[in-house]
């Protein structure tokens, strides 16, 4: 499996999902991350505004 480090079988670490190279690429791809930065900032602002009453 992509990016999977050596893990003991049947241990807790054996089961969780591991990101694929595709996922890891998008997490670092600057143009996409700029877009995500804008979206995440807007989402945070929405939460902040909602929290003040």
């Amino acid at each position: 499996m992509e990016n999977r480090l050596v893990i003991d079988k049947y241990s807790e670490q054996y089961y969780p999902p591991t990101p694929t190279n595709f996922t890891l690429f998008w997490r670092k791809f600057i143009p996409f991350q700029i877009l995500r930065f804008i979206i995440l900032t807007l989402k945070i602002i929405k939460i902040v505004v909602k929290g003040h009453s």
Binding site: N3, L5, I7, P16, I30, Q33, K43
Partner: protein, 486 residues
């Protein structure tokens, strides 16, 4: 003239003081009491602890700012509360003891019309045998001083690995009912990032130890997030983060004792186990500061003001109920003390009605679970709301409390740094709304699934980095600081 006294110059106290000075005219007196004259942006301690920032980058001196703002600053610590005054003093007062070198140890009465207790937590290292930051191989990142020492120790370990010696890093919670898992989670990810950045991963074993029932609980009972076509729990998110990095974990563990090389813990199955380590950063339990309170006749009324854990009682519903009957209505909204309405306790200083995560007990009867976190954003909002209510009261003379901020209504954003760097860094942007799950309003997921999220990526690092500068800018009271939300 009204006298408003703010105890503590952390996120909640400093936020409250900054709004009080902005909206109250100079005829009113604002006093801030804090044992240190520096303000620190605590979340960036993570980066101090891995050598990516220095203490100087995250703190500044409050004295010139308070002078400019016309706030009286006393470098002292509060010791006892006299909300009704005493035979000699008609108004309520707080007894403080100076910590500044000039007046060290001197005691003084500080009278108030309104009191904001924003003294945050006592870092209760003493509750875990041997947990002494800076001693041996034990580190902490709870203050900038601790984080600076943590980096020195971490650097020593990095040097050992460079010389071919294997090292075990154990990071997590250092008490069976500790909170603040998020900070430890960030630190373990940053430690791991720095080890890998130096190509030393083959010589390092990195282990997470936690009192959480499942990973990703973070003291808020975990959260559900929508991602990749699924709605999944933060358990999966946290585990995946660790698996990706080959970080192992020990969960449901109540750390009871630590010596120079071993951590001793009990798990929910009642087993007593040990874990070897070469570097440990364990978050201590939090408690109140052990303040005492007295009425006019000098009778002890500590239990009127404070809960048994030493945190201040506010407008929460403290009726003991089983987990199944907990509700968001139990959580406070105004942070006003029920016995003395002119006393407020925003931030970590207030006593929560109960935890958010389900309390668990080991087979031997030891409570092992994450207690409720009160992160920076809610603490800042509580500080602001408290200031707004006091300002309105002073200006109108009407004690009706209009501004509210319940953790059962407000959300929180937490950027979980997982490595520093403008092109190689990463962080998970986590938002939860509300902080305390509201199962009546959101019966399926406990929270608003549209605004509760967790997203790893480089953008998260930029956000965390930006927040560092933005919040320090705001705290320094630079032009238009009030436009920056808490």
């Amino acid at each position: 003239m009204a006298k408003v006294v703010v105890l503590g110059a952390g996120v909640a106290g400093h936020t409250a003081a900054s709004y009080l000075q902005k909206y109250l005219s100079k005829q009113h007196q604002i006093t801030v009491v804090s044992p240190t004259s520096t303000y620190q942006w605590i979340p960036s301690n993570i980066w101090v602890g891995v050598g990516r920032m220095t203490a100087e980058d995250i703190k500044f001196d409050l004295i010139p700012l308070y002078k400019k703002w016309g706030i009286e600053f006393l470098q002292a610590k509060a010791i006892s509360f006299y909300p009704e005054g005493d035979n000699d003093t008609n108004s309520g007062y707080v007894e403080v003891e100076y910590t500044s070198p000039q007046k060290f140890g001197l005691k003084q009465k500080v009278p108030f019309d309104f009191l904001i207790n924003a003294t945050g937590p006592k870092l209760n290292f003493g509750a875990t045998e041997g947990l002494i930051p800076g001693q041996g191989n034990i580190a902490s990142v709870c203050t900038f001083g601790h984080a600076t020492e943590a980096w020195k120790l971490f650097k020593e370990k990095l040097d050992k690995m460079k010389n071919g010696q294997k090292q075990t890093f154990v990071i997590g919670t250092g008490h069976p009912t500790a909170t603040c898992q998020g900070a430890a989670f960030e630190y373990i990810l940053n430690v791991d990032f720095e080890i890998k950045r130096r190509g030393l991963q083959d010589l390092a074993e990195v282990i997470w130890i936690t009192n959480e029932y499942e990973l990703g609980d973070f003291g808020m009972g975990g959260a559900f997030i929508k991602k990749g076509g699924f709605i999944s729990n933060t358990k999966l998110f946290a585990e995946s983060y660790f698996v990706e990095r080959n970080i192992k974990w020990i969960k449901r563990a109540g750390v009871k004792k630590i010596d120079a090389h071993k951590i001793f813990y009990e798990n929910l199955d009642g087993e007593y186990l040990e874990q070897n380590y070469d570097f440990a950063m364990l978050i201590p339990g939090f408690a109140g500061h052990g303040f005492k309170a007295f009425d006019k006749q000098n009778s002890d009324i500590t239990d009127c003001l404070f809960a048994p854990n030493g945190l201040m009682k506010v407008d929460a519903d403290y009726t003991p109920r089983p987990f199944e009957q907990w509700s968001v209505q139990d959580w406070p909204q105004t942070y006003q003390n029920p016995s003395y309405p002119n006393i407020f306790a925003p931030g970590i200083a207030f006593a929560p009605p109960h935890s958010i995560s389900k309390p668990m007990t080991s087979k031997n009867g030891t409570p092992i679970f994450a207690t409720a976190p009160r992160t920076g954003m809610p603490s800042g909002v509580m500080g602001k709301v408290t200031a707004e209510n006091i300002i309105a009261w002073i200006k109108t003379g009407d004690p009706e409390i209009k501004h509210r901020a319940s953790m059962g209504r407000m959300g929180a954003a937490c950027i979980v740094s997982a490595g520093y760097g403008m092109s190689k860094g990463t962080a998970a942007t986590m938002t939860v709304s509300p902080v305390v799950p509201d199962w009546d309003k959101f019966p399926e997921w406990g929270r608003d699934i549209k605004t509760t999220m967790g997203e790893p990526g480089l953008a998260g690092h930029w956000l965390k980095w930006l927040m560092h500068y933005m919040f320090l800018y705001k705290a320094k009271g630079k032009p238009f600081w009030w436009l920056i939300p808490e």
